[in-house]
């Protein structure tokens, strides 16, 4: 009804006035977007384009000459055992950490969501979110001390239960898992909050209907909660995967890629090639491949997680 009235009114407006209004609207949109587009252009798109161009050169920042090498950096990359290792470590880290993160955060969020006392629910949410406030670099330093072989907290606990101490960060069998442990502790707060919001948005009527039908808790979770949480799950998985692909400070501070490159993720390898070894061209080529990988993984996730419904 209201739509029809407004349409009728609009029909009566002079075409010249209509055109002015349209221009004003367009001007407002452009003015609003220009600063952010400039920001993106200068600090995101330009560096990406620059890096893309640089990947075809051999370039040391201290030298005034950049030598054009074409695809040489890309060819070299796939013969470079350290690059291939770092690619493998990155995928291993992302797969394990994302999987554990989503399982844990979903379980914790489900548990918190069941709490019916508001102040207690908020309290839990705050407690789990607190670690995310601390800068990751600071958290990594604190965890470093807890992983210390001689007098770190974890080995003290192992000693209490008469277990042999572990080289948490320098044993190739444990190093990556130690960093994953720290990353999960530091990061789960975000996803818990997102999952709680997602769970809160599921209408109670579905649960009520399921209860009336006599469905068990596991059945309800599997057939109601999970499907209706799919959009949240998609958002959480994409943001977590992208963020874990880019994980850097914890590796730089805690292990520097060691031992034996077992914790050398791609972002660390790119950083070291660019700023320690001064191979800017090679680092740019790696960054380009990295960008493509993240883009591809994200697109696949979007495709597989697509939903056609709303509730």
């Amino acid at each position: 009804m209201s739509t029809a009235i407004s349409t009728n009114k609009a029909d009566k407006v002079n075409p010249a006035v209509k055109s002015t209004a349209y221009r004003a609207k367009r001007r407002f949109i452009i003015i609003s977007l220009v600063p952010i587009l400039l920001l993106f252009g200068v600090f995101a798109f330009l560096p990406i384009a620059w890096s893309l161009g640089l990947s075809a050169f051999k370039y040391d920042p201290l030298s005034s000459n950049a030598i054009f090498v074409g695809a040489e950096n890309y060819i070299r990359m796939f013969q470079d055992s350290i690059f291939l290792k770092s690619l493998w470590v990155t995928f291993k880290f992302v797969f394990i950490a994302v999987l554990i993160n989503i399982v844990i955060t979903l379980l914790i969020a489900s548990a918190i969501q069941r709490v019916r006392i508001p102040w207690l629910k908020n309290g839990f949410r705050t407690v789990f979110f607190l670690p995310t406030i601390a800068p990751l670099a600071g958290t990594a330093i604190v965890w470093n001390t807890m992983f210390n072989y001689n007098d770190g907290l974890f080995n003290m606990i192992l000693a209490k239960v008469n277990m042999a101490p572990i080289q948490w960060l320098s044993d190739p069998h444990y190093a990556l898992y130690s960093v994953i442990m720290m990353t999960l502790w530091a990061d789960i707060g975000y996803n818990i909050v997102l999952f709680i919001a997602g769970l809160d948005s599921i209408p109670d009527m579905y649960y009520e209907a399921a209860t009336l039908e006599g469905a068990g808790r596991w059945h309800v979770f599997l057939h109601i909660t999970l499907p209706l949480l799919r959009r949240t799950l998609l958002f959480v998985s994409i943001t977590t995967v992208v963020s874990y692909f880019q994980a850097f400070p914890q590796f730089q501070i805690m292990t520097k890629g060691g031992p034996f490159n077992e914790t050398r993720v791609l972002s660390l390898q790119i950083y070291e090639q660019a700023f320690s070894s001064s191979n800017m061209g090679y680092a740019s080529a790696m960054a380009t491949v990295f960008l493509m990988i993240i883009l591809l993984v994200t697109l696949l996730q979007l495709r597989w997680g697509r939903t056609q419904w709303e509730h």
């Binding site: 003015i31 055992s81 350290i82 320098s170 031992p259 700023f275 070894s277």
Partner: protein, 430 residues
């Protein structure tokens, strides 16, 4: 105002802000010149280490008293970020006038014509030992003045009481004796080493010891075209010996490698009887641990040849070619390198002198008796060579050493890996 004009102004404002943000001059690096009063301002950068900072401050103060027209703005950076900070400032063409360099970093700068040549290079270089000078030389010209001799070889920390408890009344005098001592000094509890007999498993010492054992057999580790050669019988013998100390003799282990503490820290805590380390660790024992029940003694040669060794060029000073006050900056680093001032610097920082006249001065030895084993072998040092990426080089040796010592890789395969990866890396920097 017309819309397009407004947009143009907005875009210009954004660009100006971005430009200002990217290029705003700071007090660090490059902003140096003679001011209207004729005073010369120099910016000087160094890494942060209490003794080194204190020594520089003392000499800066002395220089400024003697040259009231010169002001030196001294800025320091943590070691971990210093190398990159320096690189960034030179790439941005805003370097400090005077910079402290680690000798191994210098070739990358001198090759790109970023440093000022030291006047009278030909004569000046005669005043220094070869090893500390190597990194600062290019085409026989000098691009900086080394302040110290970076020596990690030739000397070790020992606990005399631990030796006496095992019936040893003197330090080992040959390699066989060293291994024998090490085995008897190692203390184990439930198959875990509690006191290491001979600890050399540190990030620097694995590489330095390996290279020196090759040299002490009369061989070389540098091949042609800037490549390393680790497939010689001498290299295999050197690496097998080191691996054997961990894998077979078990006088040291890998448990503390890569941790926060240095091998010298474990020594001063009583967790090793003999530790192969540079003399700079003596200061740590005396200052941090307040202990004096140790000695710094010579490490015997691996063979009947003299204990020759490989060394990097250590800390030194260089002047940036971008400096607007090159003459004043050169004058300052020459002032620091004068005998009296450099002696003070070496004494205050507990470093081994790079300058012959200081190291050979009996007065210096009298004031620094712990340095005797190091001072005795300075002439036997050989510059490590043109290593393009020092950290990468050492990491390859260390990583593969761990794999070999833990039995995950044979010595031959390990050496082949090290050689291949280092040579590939060297080629990338040509």
């Amino acid at each position: 105002m017309h819309f397009s004009k407004f947009m143009l102004i907005l875009a210009m404002v954004c660009v100006v802000f971005a430009e200002a943000g990217c290029s705003s001059s700071s007090s660090s690096g490059g902003d140096t010149s003679a001011n209207p009063q004729g005073k010369v301002n120099l910016v000087f950068w160094s890494h942060q280490e209490d003794a080194i900072v204190g020594a520089y401050k003392k000499l800066i103060s002395k220089y400024q008293t003697l040259h009231p027209d010169v002001t030196i703005e001294y800025q320091t950076f943590p070691y971990d970020v210093y190398s990159q900070k320096l690189k960034a400032s030179f790439s941005a063409k805003k370097p400090p006038d005077i910079a402290e360099f680690f000798g191994t970093w210098v070739p990358e700068y001198s090759k790109n014509d970023l440093l000022v040549e030291i006047p009278d290079s030909e004569n000046v270089k005669k005043e220094y030992y070869d090893a500390p000078l190597g990194g600062y030389l290019r085409d026989n010209k000098l691009y900086g003045l080394p302040l110290e001799y970076n020596i990690e070889n030739g000397g070790m920390l020992i606990h005399p009481q631990m030796l006496k408890d095992q019936g040893f009344d003197h330090a080992p005098s040959n390699w066989t004796e060293l291994v024998d001592y090490a085995k008897k000094l190692t203390v184990r509890e439930n198959n875990v080493i509690k006191v290491k007999g001979f600890d050399f498993v540190s990030a620097d010492n694995i590489t330095f010891t390996f290279l020196s054992l090759i040299l002490q057999q009369g061989a070389s580790f540098m091949g042609e075209d800037g490549h390393v050669n680790f497939h010689s019988p001498e290299a295999e013998k050197a690496m097998s010996t080191l691996v054997s100390l961990v894998a077979d003799d078990q006088v040291a282990d890998l448990t503390t490698f890569g941790g926060e503490l240095d091998t010298s820290d474990y020594f001063f805590q009583g967790k090793s009887a003999m530790t192969y380390r540079g003399p700079w660790t003596i200061a740590a024992g005396q200052n941090n641990y307040k202990v004096d029940d140790f000695e710094y003694v010579s490490v015997p040669s691996f063979t009947e040849y003299p204990p020759v060794f490989a060394a990097e060029s250590g800390w030194g000073l260089a002047v940036s070619k971008k400096s607007k006050q090159q003459a004043a900056a050169l004058d300052f680093i020459q002032f620091i390198s004068e005998k009296e001032n450099l002696t003070t610097w070496n004494t205050d920082t507990f470093t081994v002198p790079a300058k012959k006249e200081i190291a050979e001065n009996p007065e210096f030895l009298k004031n620094n008796p712990h340095l005797k084993p190091s001072l005795a072998i300075l002439a036997l040092g050989q510059w490590i060579g043109p290593i393009a990426d020092r950290d990468f080089f050492f990491k390859q040796v260390n990583d593969n050493f761990q794999l070999m010592a833990s039995g995950q890789q044979s010595v031959q395969d390990g050496l082949a890996n090290i050689e291949q990866t280092i040579n590939d890396n060297q080629d990338q920097h040509k």
